[in-house]
Symmetry: D2
Subunit: 346 residues, 4 copies
C-alpha cells in the first residue's frame, strides 16, 4: 500500500476547518495538499491557517492543476451532486459531507458516477465513528437490549443556520441540515428501514431573527414506523441557543440504553446554594464529536489506502435523503407519508 | 374548620394500598374509616393491613352503612363514572384515580353530578404534587426556559397490565392506563391545549406473554401539536421490564429543562471493571412518586377541610380523556386527529 | 402492646421542629403532648406551630406536671447529660440528639442511669435510617465491595454554628457538632473501631464573621486507622455556604461504593450555553435527610411500643464522643492520638 | 523556527507506547526517530509497532549513533537521574516521566545538568494538560471558588505495580508511583506549598498476591497542611481492581469544585430492574487521560521549537519528590513530618 494519500478539500468554511484540523494534526497518512473555495478570502484564510499551498477557486481548476487521490467535499448541499460527480469522473475517492444531496435523483447520479469510475464514497455520518455511538451500536447488535422497539434521537443546535440551509429549495431545511445524522442513526441502531413518517414543525424564533423564508421551521418532531414494527422519534431544534445537544435513547425488549449526554467537561461547581450545581454543557458540535471527526477521517484515509470500501457510504446517504423528503412532504401535506411514496419516484 | 375528615376508600387493590398508607401514616387530618371492595378476600386483606374497621362489598352499602365525608375511588376505569356519580349524589367529596372515565359522556355525567351536589372532585394526577414536577412547573411558569416550544414526556412501566387495562373496550389501553399522567403533564407544562395528535403503536411482547386482546399494543409514540404552536411527544412502553421510568424534557425559547431521572437511590457501585458502575433504578411507581402520593392526599384532605377547590380537578381529567380518545382514533385510522373531532362529539 | 406513646420534646429549637414535624405528621403511634424550653418565646412559637398543649420551662416541671412515656432531647450538648439522667430516673425512654455528651464521664453517667432505670436510649444518628445509607450498609455487610479498606465521609454545613456549638468547652466544636454522624458512619460501615486518629484544622472564615472563640476552626480533616487495618477520612467544613453536603465513599477489596450525592431535586436546567447545566443542590439537612428523620422517630416509637432495644444506642454515641476527644487532642497536640489514650481515662 | 524536531524515546514499555502513539499520530511537528530499551524484545516490538527505525540498547549508543533534539524518558524511576543527566550533557531537551527521581539529591543533579547545558526539562505531569484539569485550574485561579480551603485528590489504579515500583528502595512505592500526580495537583490547585504531612498506610491485598516486599502498602491516606493554612488529602489505592480512578474535589471560601468522574463513556444501560443502571467506568489511565497525553507532548514539542520553557518543569518535579519523602517518613515514624525536615537535607 502507498505510504499516504493526497487530499483536496472542497469548500473552506466551518466544517472544512474541522476536517483540515483532523487531516493536518491527527491523520499522518493523509497530506492535505489542496484547497478549493469560490470565495478567495475564505480560501486564503483557511489555507493559511492549515498551511495548505495549492489553492483553487473551483474544483475543475484543482482537478486540472493539482495531483491528489481523494476529495473531501464540504460545500453547501445544493452543489454536492455537481462536486461529487466531477470528482468521481476524475477518479478521485470521495468523502462527502451530509446530507448527500437535495433529492434522490441527485443521489442516484452520484452513485452512478461513483460506480462507473471505481472510486469509493464515504458519507460524513461521523456519529458512526464517535466512540460512544460506535460502542453502543456494537452492544445493541450484540443483543444487550434485545430486539429494538423504540428509538428517540435528537439534535438541537445552538445557532441560526445560514440562509441557504434554512430554505427548503436549497437544503430541505432543518430536517436535512440538522437531523441528517438522526435519520442515519435511527435506521442504523434499529437495524431496520423506515416505513412511514409523520412530522410536525413549528416556527418560534424565526420572526424575531428576521427570517422570512417560506416554510421556515426551527422545531420539528418526527414520528417513524420502521419495517420491523419498531417506532422512532427524531427531534430537531435549531437555533436552540442553550448548547449543542445530540442524544439517543433506545428501548429494546430487554431494556433501555442512553447514548450521549448534555454534560461536557466533568467539572461540577457549587458556589450558589440557591441556584445549585453547575456543569459545562457541550457548546458546539466540534467539541462534542472531537474524536468522531478524527476517526471518520482516519477511516476514510485507511479505506483508500487499503482499497476497502468505507463502512458508511452512498446507501446510507440515500436513505437519509429519502427520510428527509418523506418528512417534508408529511408536514406540508399534514399526513403520514410512506417511504415508498418517495422511493418510488426515483 | 372540622378537626379531621372521615374517608371511605373504594377499591382495595394496589393503588388503594398506596393511598391507604398515605392516609393512615402521613395524613393525620384524615381518618380512613371505611373500605369497599367486591372481592371479600382483597377487602379483608387490605382492611387488616391498615386497620380499617368498616368493610363493605359495594359503595351503596358503605353509603348507607357508614358515615364519612369523602371517597377515594381506585376501582377499574370502567366503573369510575358509576362510583363517582353515586358518591356525588350522596354528597361525598371525591378523589378519583386516573383516567377519569372511558369517554367524554362519562366525564360529563361525573361533572354534572359533582356540580349538582356541591362536592369537590380531585383527579389522581399525582405528578402535579411530586416535589420535582411541582418545582419544575413553577419555574417554567416563572419563565426560566422562556415560552415552551417542545415537550417530551414518557412513562414506561415494568409489568404487564391486567386484562381489563389492556383492552380498549374496558380501559382505552396503555394510552389511558399508562400515559394519562403524560397527557396531563404535557398540557400543564406547555400551558396550552392539544390541537391535534398522531399516534403510532407497536406490539412486541404481547404474543410471548399470551396476550390475545384485539388491538393490544405495548409501545406507543404520540406526536402532539398544541394550540400554542408548540410540539409534544408522549412515549408509552408497558411492560418495559427494566424499571419504572417517568421523565419529562421540555425546551423553551431560552433553554431546556429535564424533570426526573431513571436513577433511584444515590448509591453507586463499581466492582466490575469490565462492566462499570451500577446505580439503582426506580423499580416501581410507589417508590418513584412516594412524596407525590402523600402530598396529593394531603391536598385533597386540606381542600375538603378548608372548602377550597382542589388544584387539579374534572377539567384536567376530561382533557386527558380527550387526548386518549383522539390518540386511539389516530392509530386506528392511521391519520392525525384533531381534538375538535373528539370534543365535538360530547 | 399499647396503642401509642406520649412524647415530651425537650428543647424547642431547629432540630426540635424537625422531630415535632415527624411526630405530628408522620408517626401516628406517637402523641407529642409536651414541650420544654427555657425560652418562653421559643417554647410558645414551636408549641403553637405543632399544636402542643402542655408547655414547660424545665424538664423537671414537665416530669412532675405531665404524663408521657418518652422524651426527645434536643437541647445544646452541654446539658445532654443532665436531661438524659433526669429523664432516665423518671423512667422515661430517651431519644437523644447527637453528640451524646461532652465527655466520656458524662456518657457513662447517662449509661448508668439508663441501665439502672430499665429505659431505652436511642441516639439521633439519623443517617442509619436514611434509605440510601441503610441500603448501602446492608449491601456492604452482604459483601458487595468485599472487606472494607478505606472510607471517606464528609459533612459540610451551610451556616455558621451558634456560639456554644463552636466553643470547645461547650460543644467540642465542629468535630462533634458537625461530624458526629461521620464518626458513627465510618465506624459502622467499616465494621471496626478506630484505633488512632490524626487531625488537621483550619480557620478561614472566622475572622470575617467576627468569631473570636479560642481554638475555633471551620475546616477539619481527620485521618483514621481502624482496628481492622483499614483507613478512614472525615472532612468537616462549616460554614461551607454552598449547600448541605453529606457523602460517603468506601473502597473494599472488590470495589468502590459511593453513598449520597450533592444534587438535590432531579431537575436539570440549561439556559446559558456559556455557563452550562444547573441542578439544585441539597440546601439543608432537613431536606437531605427528610426520610431519615421520619424513620428514626418511627423506629424509636416502635422500639418503645414493642419493648425492643433501638438499633443505635449509647454504645454508638459513646464511640463518637471518644473519636471527637481523640481528634481534638490530636490537633491541639499536633500528633496522632490513640483511642486508648482517651478511652483509658474514663 | 525549525519545521520539526527529532525525538528519541528512552524506554519502550507501557507509557512509552502511549507517548509513541501521541508523537507518531497526533504531533506532526515531532519525528520519533529513535528508540532505546535494554530489552531487545521489548525494543523491537515497540519500534515495529510505531515504525521507529533507529533502535538502541542504551541511551549512550543513541546519543552517539543518532541525531535528535530531544529525549522522552520513560524508564523506571531509579535510572531517571542517570538518563536525564546524560541527555542534558549531550544538549538534548528532556521530557521526563514522573516521579522525577528517587530523592532530592538526584533531583538537584538533574537540575544542575539541565541548567549547565541550557536545555529544557518538562515533567510528565499530564494532568496539567487534561482539558478538564486545565480548565478547572484556570477557573480556580480566576477565583470561582474563592480562596482554596481544602483539597482531596485521589488516584486508584487497577493492577498490581511491577516489583521495582512497589519497593521503597527502587521507587518510594505507591506514594510516588501512583500518587505523584496528586502531589503535584494539590500543590498546583491550592496555590501553596505543603508545610507538613501525615500518612497512614495499609496492606490488604499483598499477601494474597504473593507480595513479600518489605513495607509494601496498597492503600495510603495522606493528610496535608499547606503553607496557606489550607488542608489536603491524597488517597492512593493500587491495585484497586475496579477501574482507573482519578478525581479531585476542592472547596474554597465561596464553594466547591469537583474535577473528573468515574464514568467513562456516556452510555447508560438498564436491563436488570433489580440491579439498576450500568455505565462504563474508565478502565485505564491512557483511556482517562487520552487528550492529556497528546497535549502534554504537543506542549513539549512546541516548547522546544519556540524555545519557550515548558510550563511544568523541574521545580514541580522536585516538590512532588519532597512530598513523597516526607510522607514516607511519616508512616514509617508514625508522626507528622514537616517538609522542612526533608528539604533541609538536600
Amino acid at each position: 500500500m502507498p505510504a499516504s494519500i493526497r487530499v483536496c478539500l472542497v469548500g473552506a468554511g466551518r466544517v472544512a476547518k474541522v476536517h483540515a484540523n483532523s487531516l493536518v494534526r491527527h491523520v499522518p497518512l493523509a497530506k492535505l495538499t489542496s484547497l478549493v473555495d469560490t470565495d478567495p478570502e475564505v480560501l486564503n484564510e483557511t489555507a493559511d491557517q492549515f498551511g495548505i499551498e495549492q489553492r483553487f477557486e473551483s474544483l475543475e481548476d484543482a482537478l486540472s492543476g493539482a495531483a491528489f487521490e481523494a476529495v473531501v467535499i464540504t460545500t453547501p448541499t445544493f452543489v454536492h451532486k455537481t462536486m461529487a460527480v466531477s470528482a468521481a469522473k476524475a477518479g478521485k475517492h470521495i468523502f462527502l459531507e451530509k446530507p448527500m444531496a437535495l433529492d434522490l435523483e441527485e443521489c442516484d447520479e452520484i452513485i452512478d458516477a461513483v460506480n462507473a469510475n471505481g472510486v469509493f464514497i464515504q458519507m460524513g455520518f461521523m456519529r458512526r465513528f464517535d466512540p460512544e455511538f460506535e460502542a453502543a451500536g456494537e452492544r445493541i447488535e450484540a443483543g444487550e437490549i434485545g430486539r429494538p422497539m423504540m428509538i428517540k434521537s435528537l439534535t438541537h443546535g445552538p445557532g441560526l443556520p445560514p440562509p441557504w440551509a434554512r430554505d427548503l429549495k436549497t437544503s430541505n431545511g432543518n430536517l436535512a441540515e440538522v437531523n441528517s445524522h438522526d435519520w442515519d442513526t435511527t435506521r442504523w441502531l434499529m437495524n431496520s428501514d423506515p416505513e412511514r413518517v409523520y412530522v410536525e414543525v413549528a416556527n418560534f424564533k424565526g420572526e424575531a431573527r428576521g427570517v422570512k423564508t417560506e416554510n421556515f421551521y426551527d422545531n420539528s418532531l418526527v414520528n417513524i414506523r420502521f419495517e420491523s414494527g419498531g417506532l422512532g422519534s427524531i427531534s430537531g431544534i435549531c437555533p436552540c441557543d442553550y448548547g449543542y445537544d445530540a442524544r439517543v435513547e433506545i428501548v429494546g425488549e430487554k431494556g433501555i440504553m442512553q447514548i450521549g449526554q448534555m454534560q461536557g467537561q466533568a467539572i461540577t461547581l457549587g458556589v450558589n446554594r440557591k441556584e445549585g450545581l453547575v456543569t459545562p454543557i457541550f457548546r458546539t458540535w466540534p467539541e462534542r464529536f472531537a474524536w468522531a471527526y478524527i476517526r471518520e477521517m482516519e477511516h476514510f484515509v485507511e479505506s483508500v489506502l487499503t482499497q476497502t470500501p468505507p463502512k458508511v457510504g452512498a446507501d446510507e446517504g440515500r436513505w437519509a435523503v429519502a427520510g428527509v423528503l418523506a418528512g417534508t412532504r408529511s408536514f406540508l401535506e399534514e399526513r403520514p407519508v410512506y417511504l415508498s411514496e418517495v422511493l418510488g419516484e426515483s
